[in-house]
């Protein structure tokens, strides 16, 4: 088995090339099928997103396999191969595995830790399964890659903190309020970013949405969108008594809420906490309001600061994730190495012989009246049966068929065989040499 990766991503290729190389939904089926029938390519998966196009393949020979995939991309998209050569990366052996695991775990993403890639990869894999372009190895590899990504999600905090303004707002709201569904949010002004933040809050359970705007029409539109209520712009401060989260983004040139006003409002609402997000520039809400107890005022720079910290935290968590990826790749290599035929044949023979001996001993104890001759003939009879029976799997293992490794895996599982670790360790260096030679 030789796993190779060929592809390009946002780091190696500009959008002009990525869009040419991308496989859109309509053509993906044709592409997968073409590759499936290409010589020397046993299995393939095509992953095509806006940031990356990658082909994972199990090939007979890494370098000729890579060439044939490059030729395929070139002819499929009608791009000269020289243009591709500059943008494409090719990995084989351990590097290919490492790359696939890192991509799946979102360690290679533009924003590290963003979870979309895992879903995209699952889709690509499902598509390949439907088209029957994968078999044992890529299937096992994909399942391992997905489970590694999940392990990283649960064991590290790589995806925990928000890295966009609107998600950061939701994350902060969740740390101020325990039950968002019972809270009221007010949109003052109707900027795009404010709308997005409100949308995320609603997705996280907020039900009561108030909208106020200088032009009433826009307010009506927005409140209809959120199933909310409109508030007259002149009267919005009164409604603040019942509002827990404020998202402000008006174009007003001066402060529209002052400290004294909020102070009074807080008394009226018995100091119930308020979260105020001011994403307007210039700022619309007196920044000194943050000095009041139980009020949390964030302006656009504060939110940006939160995101910067979160991205730093993510890169710290990414180090832990890299370690997990390394471990999982090692485990996969070990499994790969265990698929050599000779120790499996030995183990199969030993197992059959052990079973035969055990059963003979059990029976002979009860049949003590048998003479030596009879015992001998029972021995040879049972040996003959066993040998005939295991002749077929052993012959299959010894054959140089293209699917020999699959056979090893199946025989090992069917007969519950465990080959000794020494044999497993012998294999990887051999693999490396292969890579170098070719």
């Amino acid at each position: 088995m030789n796993i190779i990766v060929i592809g390009l991503n946002h780091k190696t290729a500009p959008i002009e090339i990525r869009e040419k190389v991308a496989f859109d939904g309509a053509k993906l089926g044709e592409a997968v099928d073409t590759l499936k029938n290409a010589p020397g390519i046993k299995e393939n998966i095509i992953l095509s997103t806006c940031n990356r196009v990658e082909i994972y393949a199990n090939v007979e020979d890494p370098s000729s396999g890579a060439e044939s995939i490059k030729k395929f991309i070139s002819s499929f998209h009608n791009i000269p191969i020289e243009t591709l050569n500059n943008a494409l990366y090719v990995f084989s052996g351990k590097k290919a595995l490492l790359h696939i695991f890192r991509v799946t775990s979102s360690l290679d993403s533009m924003i590290v830790g963003e979870p979309q890639i895992l879903g995209q990869l699952k889709e690509a894999f499902d598509f390949a399964l439907k088209r029957k372009s994968t078999r044992v190895f890529l299937n096992k590899l994909m399942k391992k890659a997905v489970s590694t990504a999940k392990k990283i999600r649960t064991e590290t905090r790589i995806a925990e903190s928000a890295v966009s303004i609107s998600f950061a707002a939701v994350e902060l709201a969740k740390k101020i309020f325990e039950d968002l569904p019972t809270k009221t949010v007010m949109l003052i002004g109707a900027g795009e970013m404010a709308e997005l933040a409100a949308r995320h809050l609603v997705n996280n359970g907020v039900k009561d949405v108030l909208v106020t705007n200088r032009t009433a029409e826009r307010a009506e539109d927005l409140s209809r969108e959120f199933n909310g209520r409109t508030v007259n712009y002149d009267q919005f401060p009164e409604e603040l008594v019942h509002t827990d989260i404020v998202i402000c983004s008006t174009g007003a040139p001066a402060y529209i809420l002052l400290k004294d006003q909020i102070h009074k409002i807080m008394k009226q609402r018995k100091n119930k906490p308020m979260f105020i997000i001011d994403i307007s520039v210039p700022r619309n809400i007196d920044p000194e309001i943050n000095d009041l107890d139980n009020i949390y005022l964030y302006d656009i720079d504060d939110l940006q600061g939160v995101i910067t910290t979160n991205i730093q935290e993510r890169s710290k968590e990414a180090e832990k994730a890299e370690k997990i990826v390394d471990e999982e790749v090692e485990a996969f290599l070990k499994w790969q190495a265990s698929l050599s035929a000779v120790p499996t044949i030995v183990a199969l023979r030993d197992k059959a012989e052990a079973i035969r001996k055990e059963e003979i001993e059990k029976r002979l104890g009860k049949l003590s009246r048998l003479g030596e001759e009879e015992i001998k003939s029972i021995e040879s009879l049972t040996s003959a049966i066993i040998n005939k029976l295991i002749h077929y799997p052993i012959a299959a293992l010894k054959s140089e068929a293209e699917d020999k490794e699959i056979m090893v895996d199946i025989v090992k599982r069917a007969f519950d065989l465990h080959t000794a670790p020494e044999n497993e360790n012998e294999r990887p260096p051999e693999h490396k040499n292969n890579d170098k030679k070719k």
């Binding site: 039950d179 107890d293 139980n294 600061g305 939160v306």
Partner: protein, 275 residues
């Protein structure tokens, strides 16, 4: 032989609480999610040994084992763990054990420095009021200890939000609302118990010494802490204080409880001093 068993049980409880506390503190700084369950499991095992230790002393001594400094401090930490385990299962507040276990461990460690023999009940304590009075007081104290730990968590989380640099343990601490509400619930739970402890104490004193109140140092300090908590409740219900200010007050309240508990016993003479 039985003394050895209860000492062994005590040491086991102490050891498990110690490991749980250390893991709790380490968890604060570098937390993998799975550790939470390990810490609770360690605490529960420690609690089981601790309960057995108290049961053995109860059977051997024939009374609630709270009649010397060792027993009292140990029982105090037992009550806190009881409430901690309940809150862990009921509310699942992130990092709660990391903040409460140090209080538990400090108390049981303090208890380990005092003589551990099981003593017969002094005649003056032979009263039905004894167990009732002590139970109310200790469970009330434990509620205030929890309120203090949660108050500290609130202040840290509030600091993160106000400073606008949420990092470190921000993600893993609960929301301000949850912390504030549970802090309040604990005080409304502890306050009536403290009140009942003071009332039963007074009634008991009256039947023993013929006077409800004798200005014993413990009585004075208890009324001070009682006043602090009634002030917290008043400010909260009538004035509308909440959040940071009530969190600080709940920490002050517990510091006074600690003074009441250790200070009075170690530094002064009176009917509450262990002999």
């Amino acid at each position: 032989m039985q003394i050895e068993i209860n000492v062994l049980l005590f040491e086991l409880a102490l050891t498990f609480y110690f490991i749980a506390t250390i893991s709790g503190v380490i968890w604060l700084f570098k937390g993998r999610k799975a550790t939470s369950r390990t810490i609770i499991a360690l605490t529960v095992v420690g609690f089981a040994f601790h309960t057995a230790n108290i049961a053995v002393r109860y059977i051997k001594g024939g009374h609630l084992p709270v009649t010397n400094m060792h027993e009292a401090a140990s029982f105090f930490s037992w009550c806190i763990v009881l409430l901690l385990i309940y809150h862990e299962y009921r509310f699942k507040l992130g990092l709660l054990s990391s903040f409460i276990l140090p209080i538990v461990f400090a108390s049981i460690l303090a208890s380990s420095f005092f003589p551990r023999e099981i003593t017969a009940l002094r005649p003056v304590l032979k009263s039905n009021w004894f167990s009732v009075h002590v139970l109310f007081a200790f469970i009330g104290y434990a509620a205030f200890a929890m309120a203090c730990g949660i108050g500290i968590m609130y202040l840290i989380q509030e600091r993160y939000l106000k400073s606008k640099h949420p990092s470190g343990i921000f993600q893993r601490l609960p929301s301000l609302q949850a912390l504030d509400e549970i802090n309040y619930h604990l005080i409304t739970f502890g306050f009536p118990l403290l009140t009942l402890a003071i009332i039963t104490g007074a009634v008991w004193a009256n039947s023993t010494w013929g006077g409800f109140w004798s200005w014993d140092p413990k009585e004075i300090w208890s009324s001070v802490s009682w006043l602090v908590y009634i002030v917290i409740l008043h400010l909260r219900l009538k004035v509308g204080w909440r959040g940071k200010k009530t969190a600080i007050l709940s920490i002050i309240g517990f510091v006074i409880i600690i003074c009441t508990f250790y200070g009075v016993n170690l530094l002064s003479e009176g009917s509450h001093t262990f002999k």
